[in-house]
């Protein structure tokens, strides 16, 4: 049955080469923890992706309840946290996942750095990886404001003050993010849009680039 469906699609779209590029490759011994336990350091990239998927899924469920305005933002998060079935767990996953993804990504970056895997011909993939790092930091920063509690409000004020101290462009960046002269309703909707639409879109594009490059260049050899 499955074979028939596959063949039917393959006849029309020739998907076998795509499938081969995506999935059909060998995992060499030096990155396989089953052979050398110390090779677990090579798992951090995959775990980062795994947590990122959790973030996307839990975030999608959170937006079912979250309302980005200054009165209902807190109310909806409180409702989600205390009333909605499993809401506390889904929000917990998104909250802790945000920290975990930073940890995993940091460990992955250190692994790539200390194994010298960013060296030729993989320079571009390192640069894309660093851009992913910055996007993730941006996601953490914008997501922190969304519950609209006092902690979020004051942290965002401090962040915007720091942005403001950059010469020439600082005040422009601040006003762009803040959407006016105070941290208020506009700030919240902007951070929401950046957190839910802009940065995830950039993130997905960068991730696709990251993965295509890995498959194209193969994993770096043993040291």
């Amino acid at each position: 049955m499955f074979k028939n469906v596959y063949d039917w699609i393959d006849e029309r779209l020739d998907i076998t080469p795509i499938w081969r590029d995506v999935a059909d490759h060998e995992v060499p011994e030096h990155v396989n923890p089953a052979h050398h336990f110390s090779a677990f350091v090579y798992c951090f990239g995959g775990l980062t992706f795994f947590i990122t998927v959790i973030q996307i899924l839990s975030g999608m469920f959170l937006t079912m309840y979250y309302v980005p305005d200054i009165i209902n933002a807190y109310n909806s998060v409180e409702y989600l946290q205390t009333q909605v079935a499993f809401g506390q767990i889904v929000r917990g996953m998104h909250h802790w996942g945000a920290s975990l993804v930073i940890v995993m990504m940091f460990l992955h970056t250190l692994r790539v750095f200390f194994t010298g895997s960013y060296k030729a011909p993989r320079e571009m993939n390192w640069v894309v990886g660093m851009l992913i790092f910055f996007v993730m930091i941006g996601l953490g920063l914008t997501g922190y404001l969304l519950p609209w509690d006092s902690k979020a409000y004051f942290a965002t004020k401090v962040t915007l003050e720091i942005a403001n101290s950059v010469p020439i462009v600082g005040p422009i960046i601040k006003e762009l993010l803040q959407g006016g002269s105070i941290v208020g309703a506009e700030t919240l909707t902007r951070f929401f849009a950046i957190h839910v639409f802009f940065l995830p879109a950039v993130l997905l594009i960068l991730l696709v680039g990251h993965f295509i490059m890995i498959r194209r260049q193969g994993i770096s050899g043993p040291l």
């Binding site: 059909d24 060998e26 995992v27 060499p28 396989n32 953490g140 509690d149 006092s150 942290a155 962040t159």
Partner: protein, 290 residues
């Protein structure tokens, strides 16, 4: 860096065009070039990865269930909260407090040093171009990274210790902990635990009742306002949820907290005992929920 020096060779063009032929794609070594036993990604290795993923997921869910995500009180610009960014920004936050990263030197702090550090990290492959991959044979790159790691750990720790100190000094509790404790107490007393901001205006019940006139006559309005929303005194809208008729009568006679007894003034203003009784009855009817 694997750059092939082609200066000795004569220039090669693509076909009969003037397009110079490049060096071509650096074909990655085949897996069979690596020593040891390789393993197919699908299904063998993927299955193992899957199992690791499941273990990680279970651990992660245990964490989320045992430690609910923190939530404080609704944002309030006049609240006294020690501002703290998320933990992974603490090292930057702390570093910006140092003299050469703030004040007159703030540009060095916000752009200079982070620019060099993050720019260097971004461009690492173009700065560290040697062929050597082992970290102990790359002393400059590795020691810079170790130095950065040490300073990140140090700065994060200083920021956190300082925060804990400040909390202790000011006797403050982080709002998310305060909220949970308060909710627990309220639940034990059977009160609603929500901190949600209520925007629904409570309306006046039976606005046309003659008691409204007595209310205005009896000088109540000087503190509680003509629309019952309060001024010097609290709002009386929805007061029936808090006090019944007897309690309201007692307050009119004896005062309440900072409120002076109002009974004598009311009598002086020409109200009868009957009017005051009716006024108290009407106030007791002022409930938020109909």
């Amino acid at each position: 860096m694997a750059r092939i020096d082609k200066s000795e060779e004569k220039v090669v063009f693509v076909g009969d065009s003037r397009v110079r032929k490049g060096n071509g794609f650096i074909t990655p070594p085949d897996y069979s070039a690596y020593p040891g036993k390789s393993e197919a990604f699908i299904p063998n290795f993927l299955l193992k990865e899957w199992m690791v993923g499941v273990v990680v997921l279970v651990g992660f869910l245990v964490l989320t269930i045992s430690e609910p995500a923190p939530l404080g009180y609704p944002a309030n610009p006049s609240a006294s909260v020690i501002p703290m960014p998320d933990w992974y920004f603490l090292f930057l936050y702390q570093y910006l407090k140092y003299p050469y990263a703030s004040g007159d030197w703030v540009v060095l702090g916000t752009l200079g040093i982070p620019g060099v550090a993050f720019g260097g990290l971004l461009l690492a492959p173009f700065l560290d171009r040697g062929k050597e991959r082992r970290f102990y044979r790359r002393p400059i790159a590795s020691s810079l990274m170790f130095l950065s790691l040490a300073s990140i750990v140090y700065l994060t720790n200083v920021a956190w210790t300082h925060y804990v100190d400040e909390l202790e000094k000011s006797g403050q509790k982080p709002e998310h902990i305060q909220r949970v404790e308060e909710a627990r107490e309220k639940r034990a007393q059977g009160l609603p635990t929500s901190n949600a901001i209520k925007t629904k205006e409570i309306s006046i019940v039976d606005k046309d009742d003659p008691a409204m006139e007595s209310y205005k006559k009896a000088t109540c309005i000087s503190c509680h306002a003509a629309d019952l929303k309060g001024g010097a005194g609290p709002s009386l809208r929805g007061i029936g949820d808090k006090h019944d008729k007897e309690a309201i009568l007692a307050i009119i006679h004896n005062g309440y907290n900072n409120m002076q007894p109002a009974y004598d003034n009311a009598i002086k203003a020409g109200l009868t005992d009957e009017d005051i009784d009716h006024l108290a009855e009407w106030l007791a009817k002022q409930k938020a929920e109909q």
